[in-house]
């Protein structure tokens, strides 16, 4: 599903993608800056929240700074015909933050299920990964964990 955005929406997105002003009336300040009435700005933002163009307005934590220093992208080779069921089961685990099906790129990359697992250390990530392996059982032909060792860039979306 694609939502049609007009130029007002785009101006609002461009004015807020780096962040919301930390001022008592942030929406008013945006409205003043882009010279669009504040009731229009607030209504457009509300609509974008409802239709999912904006997932939420809030804080994006640096998980390393919060002590979640081990970040493991676990990747799994599971049968394509069962991936819907298996993906939903893995995604439902409370410690999995993102879970996607992605294409295999043979012969270099035979993993089709990705599940992001965070822990305070690698041991915690490995314990959680073992739980996923147990859940997948014989459906898992191969898996590995790719730990992140450095954030090279993190700016988020820019249009």
């Amino acid at each position: 599903m694609s939502i049609e955005l007009d130029s007002i929406d785009r101006i609002i997105i461009q004015a807020t993608q780096a962040g919301l002003p930390l001022t008592p009336r942030p929406y008013h300040d945006i409205a003043e800056k882009i010279d669009i009435p504040v009731d229009v700005v607030m209504r457009r933002i509300q609509v974008m929240l409802e239709n999912g163009v904006i997932r939420r307005i809030g804080a994006v934590p640096n998980h390393y700074a919060l002590g979640w220093s081990a970040n493991g992208m676990t990747v799994w080779d599971v049968p394509d015909e069962h991936i819907d069921t298996l993906g939903q089961q893995v995604g439902a685990l409370e410690f999995v933050s993102h879970c996607y099906q992605r294409p295999r790129i043979m012969p270099d990359w035979n993993y089709n299920l990705f599940a992001m697992v965070h822990g305070r250390d690698r041991e915690e990530v490995e314990t959680k990964t073992a739980q996923i392996a147990e859940l997948l059982g014989k459906n898992c032909k191969a898996h590995t964990i790719l730990y992140s060792t450095k954030i090279l860039k993190k700016t988020g979306l820019r249009i």
């Binding site: 919301l20 997932r55 099906q101």
Partner: protein, 150 residues
């Protein structure tokens, strides 16, 4: 050294959920933490300065606007890693980029306004760096709900 207190932790945990769209959103949230609007704003400024928060504001889903996201990976020899990182990071389409321990040692997210922008960005990276880019767009999303308790 500065350390988070329980109010900071409550702010981080609660504000991942969402700020309301109203005239004084910080005042509305501040009441829930039992602090004043000024204090909430200065704590948020501090959490950003301390890099405990990377951002504060709307999180956009570009696919809903007709755009596209993709995850892409590269295998870069150690000696060339810095050069390639600098080139890849220059592209505005690269929203984040992580180094990971694997033969595929560079993983980045591309976000573009139009679906064809992904392929164009990949072509540019390949020609500039001389290495292949493995494009792995999501085929299905089973869950997205990153929540980190402070």
């Amino acid at each position: 050294m500065w350390q988070m207190d329980t109010t900071d932790k409550a702010i981080i945990n609660r504000l991942q959920g969402g700020l309301p769209v109203c005239e004084r959103p910080y005042q509305v949230m501040a009441e829930q933490f039992g602090i004043g609007e000024d204090e909430l704003i200065s704590r948020l400024e501090n959490l950003l300065t301390q890099k405990v928060l990377t951002r504060f504001g709307p999180m956009f889903q570009i696919e809903r606007m007709g755009g596209a996201f993709s995850l892409a990976a590269m295998k870069i020899p150690e000696a060339d890693f810095e050069r390639v990182t600098a080139m890849v990071n220059t592209l505005p389409e690269v929203a984040h980029n992580y180094r990971r321990e694997h033969a595929f040692n560079m993983w980045f997210v591309l976000a573009t306004e139009k679906p064809e922008g992904i392929i164009q960005a990949i072509a540019r990276i390949e020609s500039q760096t001389g290495y292949p880019v493995y494009n792995m767009p999501k085929e299905k999303e089973f869950f997205v709900g990153a929540r980190f308790t402070a």
